[in-house]
Amino acid sequence: MTAPPLANLINELTKLPGVGGKSASRLAYHILKRPVAEAESLATAILEVKSKIFRCSICNNMTDVEPCAICDDPRRDASIICVVEEAFNIATIEQTRDFRGVFHVLLGALSPLKGVGPQDIDVHGLVRRVQSGNVREVIVATNPNVEGEATALYIAQQLRTLDVKTTRLAFGLPVGGDLEYADQVTMAKALEGRREI
């Protein structure tokens, strides 16, 4: 029988996304083997993130200062807003170092099967930002799946009457991939989004 404190830790770890019983058990035994200082450091980091991190009031990004570092950066072009589903999507776009605009985090995507409707995502906040002026373009960077696409269509519908250009991230072939393995939808989208060279 597993000792109650260890069982408790395993139980808590299984609540994390993508962590099943076996992984939770492996992680718990790993923590148990490490020095106390390391466990304390992990516990402190978890508590700190919960007490110090909050949502930016402008873009919903996770931040420890208000507004967040991106919204507060005068070198960023606030007239271009890139819309993402979750705060962690910002990091993926920032890695490119090509985007110098600002972000808006929707806090989800339209997902009828999960009961997530338009009122459950922050499209109103985006509309308010566009209405407040000086926004030239909204780039919708939701996931390239059915839910992300429905969300993009909903955003486009909500912005239709406003004086702003709404664009969608391109769909297509992954760099380093092979045409042979492209499915018909991806290939059709790649053809549709082709550009002159």
Binding site: L113, G115, P118, N145, V146
Partner: protein, 249 residues
């Protein structure tokens, strides 16, 4: 172990772990099945767009007797619904249809008729049929195929032939004749009863082409909704979202 190969339509998927998907799919011979698609969420996944909801595919899977969830080995896309999902109402309607079929299809129970219904309704959406007409058609037929739709020909109480106007009595979940009717029975307008007949008689594309009025479609859906809720004891998750987006057109 040799994989089983069959035609299938994806009902929905659940993101699992870092890069995997749990896929719920409907097949004509094996009914509704669940399968692991390892690595399906990766940008260079071999599954590509073939595991998106309502995609029609040729699927190869391996099943172990002791396990409920099969392992998906290969998928070839036959038809994607992606073009129809470029329209917001069409996209939400497709999700709603998938949820409806997912709710009524039974796991491991061969369901060729339900499969054919889903196949034809998906095809109609792709051909540009009015999404709500396709939804109404699906709602009525799924009740019929599940044995829930009451007879449109005979009174549910006395079995006498029904005459127009039809009367629906929610207390007995069926249509009643003039003699058995009570104050609580709803009179079904004749144009709605005609549309109901048309759903029973025609393929989905032909029904959608009749271009029934919004009011008739609404009445049909209300009737089907009442029967469905009575049977399930709850409403489908995507019902309200479809209703709110259909209302905001």
């Amino acid at each position: 172990m040799k994989p089983k190969r069959t035609e299938a339509i994806v009902l929905h998927t659940i993101a699992v772990r870092e890069r995997d998907k749990l896929v719920v799919f409907l097949t004509p011979e094996h009914g509704k099945r669940k399968g692991w698609a390892y690595g399906a969420r990766g940008a260079r996944s071999r599954f590509g767009a073939s595991l998106e909801p309502l995609a029609k595919i040729n699927i190869g899977f391996i099943e172990k007797e002791s396990e409920e969830v099969v392992r998906i080995e290969s998928v070839d896309l036959i038809r994607s619904l992606f073009p129809a999902q470029q329209n917001l109402l069409g996209s939400i309607a497709a999700t709603y249809i998938a949820e409806t079929v997912d709710t009524f299809a039974i796991a491991d129970d061969p369901s060729e008729l339900i499969y054919r219904l889903l196949d034809r309704t998906t095809e109609a959406l792709l051909a540009g049929a009015t999404p709500l007409a396709v939804v109404a058609y699906t709602e009525v037929w799924i009740l019929r195929l599940s044995g829930i739709l009451p007879s449109l020909k005979n009174c549910i109480v006395c079995d006498q032939p029904l005459a127009r106007p039809l009367r629906y009595d929610a207390r007995v979940s069926g249509f009643v004749c003039e003699n058995c009717t009570t104050r609580d029975a709803d009179v079904i307008p004749n144009d709605v009863a005609d549309a109901l007949d048309a759903i029973m008689k025609f393929p989905v594309a032909e029904f959608a082409a009749r271009a029934e009025s919004d009011a008739v479609i609404f009445e049909l859906r209300s009737l089907a909704g009442a029967l469905r809720r009575h049977f399930l004891g709850h409403e489908l998750k995507s019902f309200d979202i479809l209703a709110s987006l259909a209302g905001s057109r």
